[in-house]
Amino acid sequence: MTPILEIRNISKRFPGVLANDKVSFSLQKGEVLAFLGENGAGKTTLMNMLYGLYTPDEGDIYLNGQRIDIESPNDAISHGIGMVHQHFMLVPVMSVVENVVLGDETQQLLGVPVTPFTRRVQAFLHRVDPRPLFQHRLAGPYQLARKALTWALSYLVFFALVFLLLFLDRTFAGMTIALFSLFYLLLSFLGGRRPSLPWSKPGRGRWLQIGIALAAALLLAGLEEALGLAGVVSTVVEGILRAGLIVAAAYIGLWLLLGAYLLLWEGLNFLNGLIPLGMRSDAKKVAAISRQFGLDVNPYAMVSELPVGMQQRVEIVKALYRQADILILDEPTAVLTPQEAEELFQVMRSLIDQGKSIIFITHKLKEVLRVADRILVLRGGRMVGEALPKQATEASLAAMMVGREVILTVEKERVAAGEAVLQVENLAAVDERGHPVLRGVSFEVRAGEVLGIAGVQGNGQTELVKALTGLYRVGSGRARIEGVDITDASPRQVSELGVAHVPEDRVKDGLVLSYPIYDNMILGSYYRPPFARGLLIDEDAVHRQAVDLVQTFDVRTPSIATPVRNLSGGNMQKVIVARELSRPIKLLIASQPTRGLDVGSIEFIHKRIIEKRNDGAAVLLVSAELDEIMSLSDRIAVMYEGKILYTVDAAQATREELGLWMAGGPTHPLHGGETLERQPA
């Protein structure tokens, strides 16, 4: 059977990286093909090439046995390839149906559907698109003529200006030159790209040209004065100018012709776009698709008001509306709760049942084993293996992904928990609109234990961590560290008490991206010896510290002076962890410490967290990954709508039960719907 999609030897190079190296695979009709790989393994690059966001440097794509070129998302769409991006491509302030039809709208005029007509117009316009003419795509005589004309014109303009400056209207020529120079300077200072005016091409040649032109003009002027050759000189100059005018006219004519064509084309396009939308019939179509695949999407809902799982379905509808047969799902479960992920898997089933094929990208091993028909593993841009879920295990897949054995379960011996380090009592807070985000949170973390806080994103975990680290104003309640009240304390007071904080958003809150690694390593301790020496910073001490930490924490970087902006996500996180854990601490607050990281980095960071715990520090771990919570924690608390609903000893917790509490608990609350707390055994 011919595969519906076949990729042969595709390569893609970026400056300095080979993102995909001769990747080949095939997708059968009605199959869920999973791609596994670490961050930077080239999965997303590969998919972006299939969707036309990148073009491959080499290699071929075959659709149903026919070779196709995919140069833009439009091409991909017209070949029946749809993609659900990791970061949704939805406009929040528009309705579902507007988002779905965007770019492929149904049109009607006075209630009469005219879409077939407008489509035909669009297709025709696409064929006679004049833009390639402007994009240097035409080779041969046209290019040559254009180059020659540009060259000739640029010198003539320059010559004319010098001539004007010397003989005719000094003010006008001076003004023009000054204006152009200013304009050029402005552009080069402000713009990302340096535009080149014809006579100011960079390089030494420019000054030579300017010099020659100036000398020629001066010579002419001198000749005229000295030899009384006024008539001759003027004739020569006039001749040159006249020739210039002809060239300029030809040049301008060419461009005017092209410009007129472009204007006509754009005008037709614009007019075609003015035929009103047929929203109502579109909404019906969206509803029909939604019903057909069991997606349950309301076409008139505003996207910004939908939960994340529903937004993802809108993305799927978007692809189906464009008649996609092949759906690419790029890390679809990264943003979903376990329940939502479960629903997504059902949707995927129903898509497969109706003859669609799915490419599923992830780095979560459990999911792959559950939903995939076939698993392909990418590492370092290369295809390193294929597996069938029945024959593979999590460990074997992880080893394939990373290239070595990976310990997936965190080994930790039981440590007797000590004194309470962090005590939180009835903490409450509101957000900037006055809605409660924390509604009376109480818990304690003891020395030598990890308390994991599970919960779907946006249930108050972010605010809880910020409140504990002095970054969020608390409404009521108290938090104490070893008896010291830290409610509404400043971040520095908190950190002086021996608290390390690994923030949720490493890019926004954890690092100064433009600083080098060594400066980022001392962000919390620069004001104290050994880094501070009086009013100055001891550069040597800072560098020594950075070299030391980069080594112990295995940060992969060319040098300690590299700005952290240039590091990968995993290495950024290692810089933060290194900074926070290098101090003697009593409490570690880690928020989503491994979000978006690959198996290797996760393993490393998990080990460090457990090390700290074994050394007797208390650890508060907040994570949306249930697996992470379950493997690291000694006790687990589930947070829901600003409250801790449930606390359990990690040894007794099950995924199902935790998942249930993360969604708000069983439908029949045991104690009249109030906070339900089961203390650890």
Partner: protein, 405 residues
Amino acid sequence: MTRQWRKSLTRERIFGGVAMAAGLVILFMATRAEAGVRSAFTDDQLGTLFALPTREALYAFGALCFFVGGWQLYRGFRSLNVVLGAAAFLVVSSFLVWLTAAGSINLPGLLKTTLVSATPLTLGALSGIFCERAGVINIAIEGMMLFGAFAAIAAVSITGNHWLGMLAAILTGGIMAALHAVLSITYKVDQIISGTVINILAAGATRYINIRLLEPAGYGSPGPISLMRVPVLVDVPVLGKLFENTPTVFFMLLLVPIVHIILFYTPWGLRTRSVGEHPRAADTVGINVFRMRYINVIIGGFIAGLGGSYFSLSLGSFEDNMTHGQGFIALAAMIFGNWTPVGSFFAALIFGFADALQGKMQAFRVALPPEFLQMAPYILTMIILGGLIGRVTPPAADGQPYEKQ
């Protein structure tokens, strides 16, 4: 305690309080008004339309305003806009009554001036809407208008045809917009700076060319464009006056609904908005972000040019800096109107009314220096932008250059 108080200090309550205070001020003015004096509202043809007894009217308006504010504080109206509208209407009416005590004011004239003053503002705002809905901030409306105003006069002087002048203004606006587009879309220059460059360029270049080339050639003042009369409607009493106006006014009145329909009911509008909100999403469904932005910015330039032609064509000559900041007030109207054509039109009418009133106050020799009176529209701009506007939401990608991956 303070936290509690601050929480309860919502916009609704603030407006209630403000309305009550305004009511008290009006009542105070009523006590100072002379008894038995009437305020007359007149029309050119019909004579006096109606005359209110100044003192009694002020008492009534003040009490009503106070009551509206109090009710808002006590119970709250369903829609804040109702309170706003009612209170504003009462305050403005009282002010008019107070101003015309023992005198008369030409009501249709006031309306006409309002509409006329609002015309360039609305056109400027529409221009801004096209640009910003597509994600390009345009503070160069002022400059584009000035170029348009200048080009119109130049073209009329040379060709002798006012319509060609208007066309020249439109095209010149488009060319300046194209410059803005090249700078801010292709070269990703900061859009504020790019706009400022155009504004400065407009002020300097038009003045220079006007003095150096146009005036020496005797092309300075070709005379104003003739007024347009809408048949039938122009004969309606009182309001008929509005229908004898510069053609630009009618174009503006046509453009407002047209732009509204384009923006919200056509594929073009949908794509434009998507490009201004989430360009990458638009890109992934095959919409060319750069092209959409270019064209919308240029269309915006056309409209700004048309707005600019209003200044010079209705005056019949070009003067230095004749747009005197209206482009910026147009921006304020656009923001006040929450980036919608209809909203911006009403915002422009408010500013236009402030402008008209300012003129009337000068005529009534209010004991304030005229310089202060001329500030009125601008002060109103600041108050509205600073305090009165609730939550307006600009397009999410407004001002951010798009980079392909």
